[in-house]
């Protein structure tokens, strides 16, 4: 209940800030989070948590650990802020843009999890297995997404190899892309069918090897004579 109230107050505060703030230049949350105070707070909190957890484990004294870790984290943060060491990672005007890399890393992690959840094939024993074919399908979908959301891509990607590939695809023209997509779908469909045929092949082969009833090779009944058509 208290947590819900805390979240409610936080959201309410965010909503009310534009009405109550006398300093109208902070009319966007980006300005607030991009301020020196916010950057300072974030770095101090990160350092404090790391140093505190280490110190308290050794000292077993929360009060002393808190004081030391807070002061040390402030002393480390000061030169970081003074030299502007955080700026190249947050501000694209200063350097290659660390935010770009964060976006790229987030997309890659999301892709990895989505592929693991939906892209892995399951064999006859219920075990998940890697499938190159499905990986290609997922990569193709990713490229289509990148193609559609081209303007939203980070600059690091736009001026990198991915951006070059998208430019190359765009230069092919609409008809070429449509034909390529149709050919791709046919290849995938054929591959999928082949994948399923592969399982069927192995299943029937197993039955032929170890016995059992049901349909055999090209509909023939298994005679269990030891004859192994093409398995070796």
């Amino acid at each position: 209940m208290r947590k819900q109230a805390l979240v409610f107050v936080f959201v309410l505060a965010l909503l009310v800030i534009p009405l109550t703030s006398a300093l109208s230049y902070l009319n966007s949350p980006v300005e607030l989070f991009n301020s020196e105070w916010s950057k300072f707070t974030i770095i101090v909190v990160l350092l404090f948590v790391s140093i505190y957890s280490f110190l308290n484990r050794r000292m077993q004294n929360p009060a002393v650990s808190t004081i030391i870790s807070l002061c040390v984290s402030i002393l480390i943060t000061l030169p970081i802020m003074q030299r502007g060491l955080i700026d190249p990672f947050l501000d694209p005007f200063f350097g290659p843009g660390g935010v770009d890399w964060i976006v790229i890393a987030a997309v890659l992690i999301a892709f990895f999890f989505l592929f693991y959840k939906f892209g892995m094939s399951t064999n006859e024993y219920g075990v998940k297995r890697f499938s190159l074919l499905r990986l290609i399908v997922f990569l193709f979908l990713l490229i289509i997404l990148a193609y559609i959301a081209g303007d939203l891509l980070p600059e690091t990607v736009i001026y990198g190899p991915v951006g070059d590939s998208i430019d190359w695809i765009k230069s092919l023209g609409g008809w070429t892309i449509t034909i390529a997509i149709i050919i791709f779908i046919i290849i995938v469909w054929w591959g999928w069918k082949r994948e399923k045929m592969g399982y069927g092949w192995r299943y029937r082969a197993q039955r032929r090897s170890f016995g059992g009833g049901g349909g055999g090779w090209f509909g023939r009944k298994n005679t269990n004579t030891g004859y192994d058509p093409g398995l070796n």
Partner: protein, 208 residues
Amino acid sequence: MQTKISRTLGLALTTLLLILPIISAYSYSPFGNFGFYGSPLDYLENEWVLSAVLFLIFFALIFYTLNKAFKNSAVSVIIALGLSALISMAIAQRGLITAYGGGEISSWALFLAAAIGIAFLIRFSSESFGKIGAVAVVFLTWLVLYNFYPEQILPGLLADIPAFVWFWEVLTSWIGLIILIVIAFAFGGQGPETLLESISRIGNRRLR
């Protein structure tokens, strides 16, 4: 109860720091975020504040050590107060905290903190995720170092040694990255479980 109070205090302090630019009239500037106290440096780069920070560090350390030996809080507090006041006064007297943020001492503090932090991070990731974790941390560290000139991070004493700068340049080159990855892979621990097992545990499935 103690934990609850600490948590509330921590949350209040963090929130205060975050909303300070909104409520502080001193930070107002018609040109944006450039008013006085628009940055925490305006407040913290002050001899009073830095002396207080140093005083607190010495006080906590001395109190902790003395109290372990004496088992008497009152005596430990008095001695720690006196000693830490003397130490922080001596530091302030010699001008060591004037322009701390841009000075040589802060460079060494930053360099040592970064070195210790990276070492712990590599150890943690190596123990938790094995070789892949060690390689990931090494790559991220290399990416951070790659974006800086040596003069930005290294103390002046080290940045003036040509051999050290040459070593830095090799380390932050692509060849350096390959060498670092090979070393991380060779010396990275096995870890309690592999990365794939950790991920599959998140999805409540085991991957063979």
